[in-house]
Symmetry: D3
Subunit: 287 residues, 6 copies
Amino acid sequence: MFYYDGKLQYPVRVQTPDPRFARMLQQAIGGVEGEMRVCLQYLFQAFGARGPAKYRNMLLATGTEEIAHIEMLATAVALNLEGAPDHMKDAAAKANPVVEAVMGGMDPRQYLSAGMAALASDANGVPFDGSHIYASGNIAADMYANVTAEATGRALACRLFELTDDPGMKDMLRFLIARDTMHQQQWLAVIEELGGHQGTLPIPNSFPVEEELRDVSYVFFAPGIEGVPAPEGRFTHGPSLDGLGEYELRPAQPFGQEPQLAPPMPMAYAETQQMLDDPQQGGRQKG
Amino acid sequence: MFYYDGKLQYPVRVQTPDPRFARMLQQAIGGVEGEMRVCLQYLFQAFGARGPAKYRNMLLATGTEEIAHIEMLATAVALNLEGAPDHMKDAAAKANPVVEAVMGGMDPRQYLSAGMAALASDANGVPFDGSHIYASGNIAADMYANVTAEATGRALACRLFELTDDPGMKDMLRFLIARDTMHQQQWLAVIEELGGHQGTLPIPNSFPVEEELRDVSYVFFAPGIEGVPAPEGRFTHGPSLDGLGEYELRPAQPFGQEPQLAPPMPMAYAETQQMLDDPQQGGRQKG
Amino acid sequence: MFYYDGKLQYPVRVQTPDPRFARMLQQAIGGVEGEMRVCLQYLFQAFGARGPAKYRNMLLATGTEEIAHIEMLATAVALNLEGAPDHMKDAAAKANPVVEAVMGGMDPRQYLSAGMAALASDANGVPFDGSHIYASGNIAADMYANVTAEATGRALACRLFELTDDPGMKDMLRFLIARDTMHQQQWLAVIEELGGHQGTLPIPNSFPVEEELRDVSYVFFAPGIEGVPAPEGRFTHGPSLDGLGEYELRPAQPFGQEPQLAPPMPMAYAETQQMLDDPQQGGRQKG
Amino acid sequence: MFYYDGKLQYPVRVQTPDPRFARMLQQAIGGVEGEMRVCLQYLFQAFGARGPAKYRNMLLATGTEEIAHIEMLATAVALNLEGAPDHMKDAAAKANPVVEAVMGGMDPRQYLSAGMAALASDANGVPFDGSHIYASGNIAADMYANVTAEATGRALACRLFELTDDPGMKDMLRFLIARDTMHQQQWLAVIEELGGHQGTLPIPNSFPVEEELRDVSYVFFAPGIEGVPAPEGRFTHGPSLDGLGEYELRPAQPFGQEPQLAPPMPMAYAETQQMLDDPQQGGRQKG
Amino acid sequence: MFYYDGKLQYPVRVQTPDPRFARMLQQAIGGVEGEMRVCLQYLFQAFGARGPAKYRNMLLATGTEEIAHIEMLATAVALNLEGAPDHMKDAAAKANPVVEAVMGGMDPRQYLSAGMAALASDANGVPFDGSHIYASGNIAADMYANVTAEATGRALACRLFELTDDPGMKDMLRFLIARDTMHQQQWLAVIEELGGHQGTLPIPNSFPVEEELRDVSYVFFAPGIEGVPAPEGRFTHGPSLDGLGEYELRPAQPFGQEPQLAPPMPMAYAETQQMLDDPQQGGRQKG
Amino acid sequence: MFYYDGKLQYPVRVQTPDPRFARMLQQAIGGVEGEMRVCLQYLFQAFGARGPAKYRNMLLATGTEEIAHIEMLATAVALNLEGAPDHMKDAAAKANPVVEAVMGGMDPRQYLSAGMAALASDANGVPFDGSHIYASGNIAADMYANVTAEATGRALACRLFELTDDPGMKDMLRFLIARDTMHQQQWLAVIEELGGHQGTLPIPNSFPVEEELRDVSYVFFAPGIEGVPAPEGRFTHGPSLDGLGEYELRPAQPFGQEPQLAPPMPMAYAETQQMLDDPQQGGRQKG
């Protein structure tokens, strides 16, 4: 169960409202790298957590923190949409600077649909998409999903940092970037705690490895045509990271033959010619 | 540029067609953990690769291999939809076993929309969604995205392995599971090559860390209400994985106050009461 | 900012796990009538609230309660997926009852993608769709959106109540149905508080009504062809609910003429015949 | 069955084409508050109408009217895309004003995909999404869904009214705003006809109220942490709107305990550590 | 503008309700081959029609007919959901046959969300997706889009015909299949009227063909690796269908070289190693 | 199985980077008319091909070519995002031209999410949607789907050609436009090879035509109300294109009556008034 206090986790101040920056911030709310996604991802992982109770607790804690990040960013959007932005006044001969803002770069739905507030969508107005909420039931897979979310999330926050000169916005982003740093560390720390690469790989480590086709488990297949150099690196030679094999490089070649599918079943209603030896012969035979 | 030979990378055989398993296989084609996603993710990462050329080459190679995996799985779906499945004959008093299959657990669109073949969608018929194709422009973030895809992908393949007794299908899955093993190793090997945690964290490592709010960069915030124990572990004490700080545990408390938004602008067309001191007073003042 | 205690708002018990019911419960989690939608809808309305502070506070309170409802339902899904369901054992000659469950009516992705836990999607596996999070910036519009959500949500909960005999599930639903009752009352009470129909209609009430085409503001247009009886009722005669007019019934007739669009611009690359007087004359003129 | 006459319900004139306004109008066509949604919502409610025949008739009538609104708006978009907009000529040194329009604020797909015509999508180019077509089978829930659609739709039309100075566009919007006024009244009139709050609440009113947990049916739960004031209003004291209870205010507290899920089933392929007492012990035990 | 009469275009009768067939029918309502798509596609093509007025008229006429097809199918769904289906009584020991239907193959949302009526979604519950409404502004492209819709639509109707033995349903489908026959003919007749292949190809025929790279306009590129036979047929030799060239077969070979992208811009926040000559060197240089 | 050589099929050069054109190019990558769609459409048609082997081979060949087109366009996007675009320098007083580009017309996610590279989405940032991958199992339907894709695709490429003056971009588009010409010819050539209209119509031609309601198979229904002229043309008189009938024109009239649905089932939880003779009587009877 959850509680609130109505306060912001970190101050959100906007010195010079900028409707175009309000659009950019949407990516950090409803985008695939955004806070709605991480918040719900951690909460769903918690709700379905099986195994050691401490991970459920940790996921609940961080998922709960992330709700406050959505709150901060939504507040930042609303504040950026207030007043007549200075940098738009010059370009606009027209009387109404908000019209110009709507017309010139802000997300029009922040006005049309929300009356000057944040939406649950990304910087292009694409609605938040719940399919990005990963909760696989495998803790190692989930931790890597979380690292990915925080790595792309921190890259996003750094890029947003470049797009604003507003001291309030920069201050807020410094906080969020730091939290993304911590959360990257946090999920990777769980991997360490579980034994690192050797303790967790291959994921899932509960599938008996002798059931897989071990002959190709550490082989880099190079499907370049003749003359194309194969890439080489840590992934083509030396011991594998799970300590169970040796990397190897092989040109890609088919183990299988051309697939042979049965002719169409009558009830599938292909064209008659697909059921004939000689497709140049015409249709309507069934009738 | 790309080429083909029309052969399967690994043999695909189905001894006993099973339309319900054909539905399950869709998850490995068009699902978020599926082969369309990894294929296109690696190719888009390659197409946009900036920096060392060898990573473009590697991504192209593995992206190209994955096209063949889509081909194998689509072939497996088509073969599972052929003929009258034995295990459905008993239950069906009706003459037409394909009708029963369509009615009893297969994806109906494999028949209705594809005439007994694979679709570009997941096990619930949800179409493949291109927003899952992550290519962030940051190689470390991308590598973790790829590990995630291969970890959830391998978990999926292992689970599919449980759902079939068909020797041909099990053989195909043994191959795919092994390839997922390799691909997990491969992306993590790039992280190693780039210097491991200390060489890559925090992601992006090109943002000057002194710009972030270092005070909270390694702090685990515990937002449990009074009486709720904070989670503890590798992520609450000891040196951080990037070697730049020390983990720390703190109860979560607001740094900020309640947000104060301006009243609605007239052109936002809120209700009149939202613009009043006393909202119990009624509307239509503007008219 | 938000807090948690790790406990359930109301007990969730499952006496007889039923994977098929676990699928049905997904509708109440990620469906358009579900808890993710109401939770996020109330929170976004709070985050963007302009005007009287008490409504922000109320929206935060109820939005926070709804997070706990997602938690309850996700827990209910996980519990329904545990063990070997009794009512499936009979039908299944096969050794593995979980295979049968996956094959016979449960959401396959609860197994394939989540390892036996809840997903952020509806009863058909369609992912949660953020476009349903309504926060219009107009409090009356938002209150009706919330009533709608709670009315369809309560209908859903009542229907789920019919689909289970499990005493634990019925008990949980009794609680949720009661909360939906309260929440319907709550949002309608705000309408009352704002002055009821006369205080709030037409929504938005801040648009000067003399600007609209008053001639048709209370007219029911009946577009039935000759001989089709027009519907009659409270909406075709008597005073309008906002107290500003009289309902009226009129046959629908066009005020306008056939639209006349300009011919295609050359750069639009229509077919040449679309730019000619006589379209029977052929193409390629431009070349 | 349906008929047409090829004329517009109300005249659509554009004095000064404005490609950017053409983009804004898309929200009223394919947006969640738009005409495609209300049109199809009323028609689907009619097609599935059970109970008194007059409501089917009414829904058919208004659904049919709404098709004409889509027609008007699509015509308005096409007309706004014609010619070289004056207000763009100044800013554009370039020879081709349409290029500038495409590049400077219009929806690029109106040109790229439609050759200067309307799309079935919203102001951000997000395609019309059929999940917003609510038809719940419960007439009171549906009426509130319809009120919501017309309330957000009228707010949208009022906001569009602010964004244009074109007399033709303003005239068209005056008509549409008036129709939204009527349609709000119309759906609420049905609620009145059914007995108002006491006749319709709680929705659905056919579920026996004694089956719900009456103890919490009129309670406002306040989940603020210590020190946070609870919101108060019509929804915290006095008789409930359905006449069946009394509102009440209580601090939120858990009725339940921490959820206990079973450990992962082997076939779910969690990490091995999730199945152990001591997760610090490593993986691969099964193999 | 549009009108209605409340009658069905063709009788819809269901002798034996079948909830599973009700699910299948959804594909013909909200699926990509369904009636919502063709209806809206023809109407949007009409609303944006530029050029000869008769095609606007024709598109309006057929678009209007298609609304009635949605009505027929939605009615068919509702009728198939009524009563206790006979073929389910046997299998069900349980008292409640509707529960069994919901649990055993019908679309659960037809009950949960619609109270036993049709939804605006496909046979897998995926909502109708407006991006399938093609209206390109080029009449030849649109006619082929329409032929495609009617060809896949007729295939769908034929497949549905196989899935039912109900005489009422078969009768309705006979009508719809015949209409699809006509509509295929109709759109192709427009192509004939415009001059057939030579009058319409290449589409758009208003682009000056000398601007394209004529060297490859009629070449079939065969990208098979060495040893893979090239496909041959009408498309590899003989005059092209537009009468402007000769088909030709060539092995695929690159005209271009390896792409060279610039290194990441600093503000893109790639990993530092992506900006170095030697990526084995580690990160954090900027700080 | 597939191979690559790392080279571009045709040179991609950008003389003057233009971030706004980079946005436009996205439509040709991830839009409904774009290369991802045709690529995957042809490959899925190949993977599911039943009947003459040569068509599988042809589809594989052209599907493989299209992967290279995605590569070319993604490269073009990346190159257009490099450097400081000249035409933006004037308008921007600000120091940072990339900021201006992000703010002034480019797709913000090309920067925010991809760090200056292509996305798998369209010109409005809507993600690639796999439901557009048509593979119906009927070769004639599929060929028309392919013609449609190449006709709308060529129209798109021609329109992009208008939006750029860059000689490198124009050169690349000349190549792509020519390939679209060929591919239109190619799919129509298959129709010719199968016997043209008489050999392929109605699609599917394997359904016995006597099963359809032949009375309406060649009738154009005109649903105009009284006074509206029916459209006439090749589709209203003369022999049908399949040689099996005569076109005919008839006013549209209902064959059916008003639909009669049963009252709501109790378990559907409609409002009580929907189950009564006199709906003015109120609710809660069940309780």
